[in-house]
């Protein structure tokens, strides 16, 4: 049985996806990718960064912040020791998290980190404005450093 040229060309046309078909396939994929990226956009932290007075040099490490706390006269000795212990606890929990041994989720650790910085800020905000400004600017920067596996191990490994 011979096939006419017209039949073959019609068959070829139906095999090839039309523009509408391509759109129908790609549109859901496009919509899904936008929807999936929305939580990341919505989760953009509203941390006190935009309103912080500028500093010449940013603190990028929780350990450096701890060292600066040791030098300030705004905090008493016992509070310094307590805050130092709290910093070590948060770092230890994050270390366990990055090693896959943590009972806390990253969101919980983020909340614990925020509360730690709130505890530090409350002692500095009226007594050491310079260090408080450093803390304000470093709030988000340090967290970005802590949450990232490679950067965490680079600084605290």
């Amino acid at each position: 049985m011979k096939l006419s040229q017209e039949t073959i060309s019609t068959a070829r046309k139906t095999d090839r996806p039309s523009g509408v078909q391509v759109c129908c396939t790609l549109l859901p994929v496009l919509v899904m990718s936008i929807v999936l990226s929305l939580p990341a956009i919505a989760h953009e932290p509203s941390r006190p960064r935009g309103g912080c007075p500028p500093v010449e040099e940013e603190i990028v490490d929780l350990q450096i912040l701890g060292d600066m706390l040791a030098d300030t006269r705004a905090i008493g000795l016992f509070t310094k020791l307590s805050l130092k212990k709290d910093i070590e606890k948060v770092l230890s929990r994050l270390s366990k998290f990055h090693d896959g041994k943590s009972k806390f989720t990253l969101e919980q650790l983020e909340e614990q980190y925020d509360l730690l910085l709130m505890k530090i800020a409350i002692h500095l905000q009226d007594n050491d404005l310079t260090l408080h400004t450093h803390l304000c600017n470093a709030w988000l920067v340090i967290w970005e450093d802590l949450r990232d596996f490679d950067r965490f191990h680079e600084h605290h490994g």
């Binding site: 941390r47 006190p48 912080c52 009972k103 709130m118 905000q125 304000c136």
Partner: protein
């Protein structure tokens, strides 16, 4: 006989100290739950500003870096951080 008695006493003491240190280490390793950690931190923040609380009974994160806290003392607080990084504790009427 006396030597033997002294040796036994020393071994007993060493065993007791070892057991005690093991117990202390075990207690130290038992970590609080996330909720307990948050409650303790919120209490410290409220205490730091000299506001009465005694113990945090309940808390709710209303938004990022903002909490409503109910205390055992009967007081309720709104804790928040402003864009300048200043922590504010307001008594909720």
């Amino acid at each position: 006989m006396n030597k033997m008695y002294m040796r036994m006493k020393l071994i007993n003491s060493l065993l007791f100290v070892s057991l005690l240190s093991l117990l202390v280490t075990a207690c130290d390793r038992q970590e609080d739950s996330h909720e307990d950690i948050v409650k303790a931190d919120l209490l410290l923040i409220i205490d730091s500003l000299g506001s009465p609380c005694d113990q945090v009974l309940e808390y709710e994160a209303t938004e990022e870096l903002a909490y409503t806290v109910s205390c055992e003392s009967g007081d309720s607080y709104l804790i928040s951080v402003n864009p300048q990084g200043r922590v504010d504790v307001q008594n909720k009427e």
